[in-house]
Symmetry: C2
Subunit: 270 residues, 2 copies
């Protein structure tokens, strides 16, 4: 039995690249075997939380998209950076300038945005025009104490037709231009993983994270004491298995194989 | 006499923010006193080279724009990163994918761009759309040994209506996304300053650089042994005078005042 299966009571699942690949006219496609794999996790009585850096949509829209692909999933099972950023903004009385995807805007509808004193950057995709990025830059550079909040810091993700630059690249651009360090909400921030565990009521050593991003999923989870398994789907590249800083607790071909291992280990019965 | 004036035989001038501020319907406006200041440098018999990271146009277009503002300037007097990058590409047999301003494309017209094995990034301004930046990213990430050549690494510059993100921000985005370090052609690269000195036939200690960018103009020149003076025009901000890493040899209100100092020191007569 693979040691990463031992005593697992809860599973944290990354979504893009593990459950589905985004992109294309239908918004993406489920990765073969993953719909059944999610169901088998549920049937085995394991706790489950979807831990995503997705910031192109509200949680509601995101869940509806996954349901359309056949996944059984509810909003309460999703830990996402948008709502986490909203909580942080409200706690600190910040007024954000938003550089995010149009579909994420409703998440911040109730937030005061007058005379912004911080910038929130998400995976804005085509909204990352020069004019829009420059507008966010001007807000930041005009602040006495610039605050930049980034919804994740991923480098890129995979769509059906190829790799796409993620929010981390634009976060770095603004960090450099304004000489600030962003506060990252989302993976690999430890608070983000711990909040997902808290929702399930389990300890780090009782959970396993399954993801396709060696730094944000695997390294992030491990830094909180959560075991982590890399799938060879999504943005996975063979060089990830010899990453200079991060070694996963296990490597599997895809989510279906990870669940095969988990269930074969008798985890569910323990 | 200010010590930065002593024994000066040659002047290196930054252009944007020193001679003029770019932007607006006319392409910018001369900074008051700077047209006359350039003429006074010439009349005093000092050698002169314009040392710019401008990459939004060919040298020819750039010179014609400055002539329209009233400056006396010729193409041979301009050291610019576009031609320097072209030389580098040809020496190394590289085939570039270009992420640059449309007006710079003619500079690379004769270069083989089939099946690119490097990316050249310049100040592309509105060409920095998400799609274009992503295309450059895909080229880089698909190369076994990614080569990224950046025309300068400025953070921002000033246009008539405000600050604008410069190429450095997008260079950082691609560096992060592809885990590469860009080769910078242009200021603050020592080779770039030395090539400008070479053109004039003077030694570093005989020249002074005048610029508005504390890191790229002042720090860059000083790293080659060239004295450097910061003007309080262009993108200058008061905090530049207490920069943690760079202290200019002098601070002046504008180019006109720098030339006042130089001529008062009797430099021209020596």
């Amino acid at each position: 039995m693979a040691s990463w299966c031992r005593g697992v009571r809860a599973v944290l699942l990354d979504v893009s690249g593990v459950l589905y690949d985004s992109g294309g006219p239908e918004g993406g496609a489920a990765i073969p075997g993953s719909v059944e794999a999610v169901s088998r996790i549920r049937q085995a009585g394991l706790k489950l939380q979807f831990c995503t850096n997705e910031s192109q949509a509200t949680r509601g829209q995101f869940v509806r998209k996954l349901q359309k692909f056949g996944f059984i999933i509810s909003e309460e099972e999703v830990t996402a950076p948008g709502p986490a950023a909203k909580r942080l903004i409200e706690e600190r009385g910040l007024r954000p300038h938003l550089l995010v995807h149009d579909d994420l805007l409703p998440e911040f509808a109730s937030v005061d945005k007058f005379e912004p004193n911080c910038v929130v950057i998400g995976d804005a995709a085509d909204n990352f025009s020069y004019q829009n990025v420059n507008k966010a830059f001007r807000v930041l550079v005009g602040l006495e104490k610039p605050v930049l909040i980034s919804l994740g810091k991923g480098r890129y993700y995979k769509e059906t037709d190829g790799l796409m630059l993620d929010v981390g690249a634009y976060m770095k651009a603004l960090e450099y231009a304004c000489d600030v360090t962003a506060e990252v909400v989302g993976k690999p921030s430890p608070n983000f993983f711990l909040s997902a565990l808290d929702t399930m009521g389990v300890k780090p050593e009782e959970a396993v994270m399954i993801g396709d991003d060696v730094v944000n999923d695997i390294g992030g989870a491990q830094s909180c004491g959560i075991r982590a398994v890399l799938v060879r789907t999504g943005k996975y590249r063979p060089s990830d298995e010899s990453h200079p800083l991060v070694t996963a607790d296990g490597y599997v071909d895809n989510l279906a194989q990870a669940v095969d291992f988990l269930l074969a280990s008798g985890t569910a019965a323990s």
